[in-house]
């Protein structure tokens, strides 16, 4: 018995290691390539560690690589993305919390119909709304601006954030709202004083999710950003596609890591709250 269970365990770990390698090797490749120079790349040995470690590719990707005509690296795009993602995440989360609270705890006429319509938002493919959205942004004079991108991401995120908060707040006993109303609190005060303070777990989930979605978006970024408001995903695409002479894979790889870094950081630091938040109920017995 002891012997066979040990074998099973060994096989299990072997399989796990194999799958982990399958996932990690591409990332390893990206990392080691980004620290090599072009000469070393040309010699092959893709899997080997750099002979001479250099951050030149990183510096170039950040501030000097050409992305089309301009040669300022990813930096301007990165800042664009930051300017877009922070307000878009915060606004869509707050609106979602508010909607979720209203839909879960205030049974106004048509609440269920509104919620169903909101859920339909999940099933609309991005591509289907590109043209009307572009026209709409035009009417608002927000075409090719970061504000326009924020608006699009907020509008698109509300369906998800609303559902997330509604399902969380549905587990709050309705007596709580009744008690607060008898105590004299109104719609907004009840939200602020009673619902917001118990919402940290679900806010964490919402912010991580929305951050990842909006930061990683390429389609809206490519379609609505013009030349001055492009997010980093579009910047990376342009960087990779702009080649003068030798293809600098090390710069491309460094650019890819720079682009992915914020979402990586968010997951590394927020990951455990993400799981905790998903499983947490609103009110602990």
């Amino acid at each position: 018995m002891q012997h066979s269970s040990l074998t099973v365990r060994a096989v299990l770990y072997l399989a796990l290691l194999l799958f982990a390698a399958l996932f990690l090797i591409p990332f390893y490749l990206v990392l080691v390539t980004s620290f090599k120079d072009v000469a070393e790349l040309r010699r092959g040995n893709m899997l080997s560690l750099p002979e001479t470690w250099t951050v030149a590719a990183w510096l170039k990707a950040w501030s000097a690589a050409c992305t089309g005509a301009a040669c300022n690296g990813l930096r301007p795009y990165f800042y664009n993305s930051l300017e877009m993602v922070v307000p878009a995440v915060l606004i869509s989360s707050v609106i979602g919390a508010f909607n979720g609270y209203a839909l879960a705890q205030w049974h106004f006429r048509g609440a269920d119909a509104i919620f169903t319509l909101l859920l339909l938002g999940f099933f609309i493919p991005y591509q289907a709304i590109l043209l009307p959205a572009a026209q709409f942004l035009g009417y608002l004079h927000l075409s090719n601006t970061i504000a326009g991108l924020v608006l699009i991401h907020v509008a698109y995120g509300i369906a998800f954030t609303t559902m997330l908060f509604r399902n969380y707040y549905v587990s709050v006993p309705p007596d709580l709202v009744k008690a607060a109303r008898v105590d004299g609190a109104g719609f907004f005060l009840i939200f602020r004083k009673i619902f917001l303070p118990i919402s940290l777990p679900i806010f964490t989930v919402c912010i991580i999710w929305q951050f990842t979605q909006i930061w990683n978006d390429f389609l809206f970024g490519a379609a609505f950003s013009g030349t001055t408001a492009r997010p980093v995903t579009v910047g990376l695409n342009n960087l990779v596609n702009t080649t003068e002479g030798v293809k600098e894979y090390n710069v491309d790889m460094a650019g890819a890591v720079i682009t992915a870094l914020p979402t990586l950081i968010v997951y590394i630091f927020g990951g455990r709250y993400f799981v905790r938040g998903l499983t947490a109920g609103a009110v602990k017995g």
Binding site: P173, D175, L176, K178, A179, A180, R181, V182, D183, G184, A185, L189, K193, I194, P197, I198, V283, K284, G285
Partner: protein, 379 residues
């Protein structure tokens, strides 16, 4: 002055779900009103309407002489205690109690004084900095009461406040609520499904069924003279016995024939022949409380009793007295006898029937047919 007045109140959900069908109630200021009934009878809906948490479809509700139909909960001068306690989870006990005062812009110093006073009254002074999740059920119940007391309202509303407590604690809290009521002298409207709570706490009890008040009166009146079979069966434990049979003339009065399974005998009823003329020869239901059927050792009745020999089906000693189940006219009948009598199962026993408090019901409608004028249904 009326503390609470409910005039012809209706509640309809959607287009055709009628939950309340014309409720009328009035209690004096300082009285303890109980709304009691099984789940779905509309008692909680009525309480929510008094609180202003549900709209009033039709009719009028008055609190302390003021029509409150169009006032929001906060302007009705009420406080409410919930079955689930509904304590704000992120606030400490102190913050929970003073939340309503804070919203009403009561100055901080005054708030602290009130919280301290209320906490002392409820013996929760040492819990003030805890959060609800750190409290036991009984402690949460006290905090919920404290929150209501701090507001010092015209009218207290209780929505089954003791249902989530264990039996021992429920008994203690029941006594405390009664003491609190005597001390504060405020009007209370208290919803429960527990008839013992209703009997022990209430000055006035409204027994509700299917959105209608079946009987509104004092506990003793409901007990002695219930207006319907539903009320008779609801109030009292064990409930009133129902013995169905034909009403007959017996001399100058009336009687009902009963079959004990051993013999048939006539029970003479304390109603006049002229009064009951219309029901002679018809089936009626005789209502009699268990303690009105007893044995020779236990009988303290000042009224004439009639002796009937019955077969004992079940013997249940409760301590102060023993419950005997027997069958009359095929229906289960429970009597309360002296604990020293100790009959065996399936033995024979002579029971003394005291019919001075007997009531008669119409078997189809379930309504009283004797002493119709005494029926005190809310007009």
């Amino acid at each position: 002055m009326p503390g609470l007045k409910i005039r012809d109140v209706y509640k309809t959900f959607g287009s055709n779900i009628e939950v309340l069908k014309g409720v009328n109630l009035e209690v004096e200021q300082g009285q303890f009103l109980i709304l009691v009934g099984n789940s779905g009878c509309g008692k909680s809906t009525l309480l929510n309407m008094i609180a202003g948490l549900e709209t009033i479809t039709r009719g009028e509700i008055e609190i302390g002489g003021r029509v409150v139909n169009d006032l929001p909960p906060k302007s009705r001068d009420i406080a409410m205690v919930f079955q689930s306690y509904a304590l704000y989870p992120s606030m400490t006990v102190k913050e929970n109690i003073s939340f309503g005062l804070e919203i009403r812009k009561v100055p901080l110093a005054e708030r602290s004084t009130i919280v301290a006073r209320v906490a002392e009254m409820l013996q929760i002074s040492d819990l003030l900095d805890r959060r609800p999740r750190q409290l036991s059920g009984g402690q949460r119940q006290r905090v919920a009461m404290g929150r209501a007391l701090a507001r010092d309202p015209e009218l207290f509303l209780f929505d089954e406040p003791l249902s989530n407590l264990d039996a021992q604690l429920r008994l203690e809290m029941r006594a405390e609520i009664k003491m609190m009521h005597r001390r504060l002298g405020k009007t209370i409207c208290y919803v429960t499904h527990d008839q013992i709570e209703a009997m022990t706490l209430g000055d006035r009890i409204a027994v509700m069924k299917d959105g209608v008040i079946q009987h509104f009166g004092s506990p003793q009146e409901l007990y002695d003279s219930p207006s319907t079979m539903y009320v008779a069966g609801f109030i009292g434990s064990p409930p009133m016995n129902f013995i169905s049979g034909q009403l007959r003339t017996a001399g100058s009065g009336v009687a009902i024939e009963i079959d004990t399974g051993l013999a048939k005998s006539l029970l003479k009823l304390p109603f006049g022949l002229t009064q009951m003329q219309a029901y002679i020869g018809k089936n009626v239901v005789l209502g009699l409380r268990p303690e009105r059927i007893t044995d020779a050792m236990h009988s303290s009745s000042r009224f004439p009793v009639q002796t009937v020999e019955v077969r004992v089906d079940v013997v249940e000693p409760t301590g102060p007295d023993t419950l005997i189940t027997t069958h009359l006219n095929g229906k289960r009948v429970v009597s309360r006898i002296h604990p020293g009598t100790r009959p065996d199962d399936a033995s024979r026993l002579s029971l003394l029937f005291d019919l001075s408090k007997a009531v008669l019901f119409d078997p189809d409608k379930g309504t009283r047919i004797d002493a119709v004028s005494a029926i005190h249904q809310a007009a």
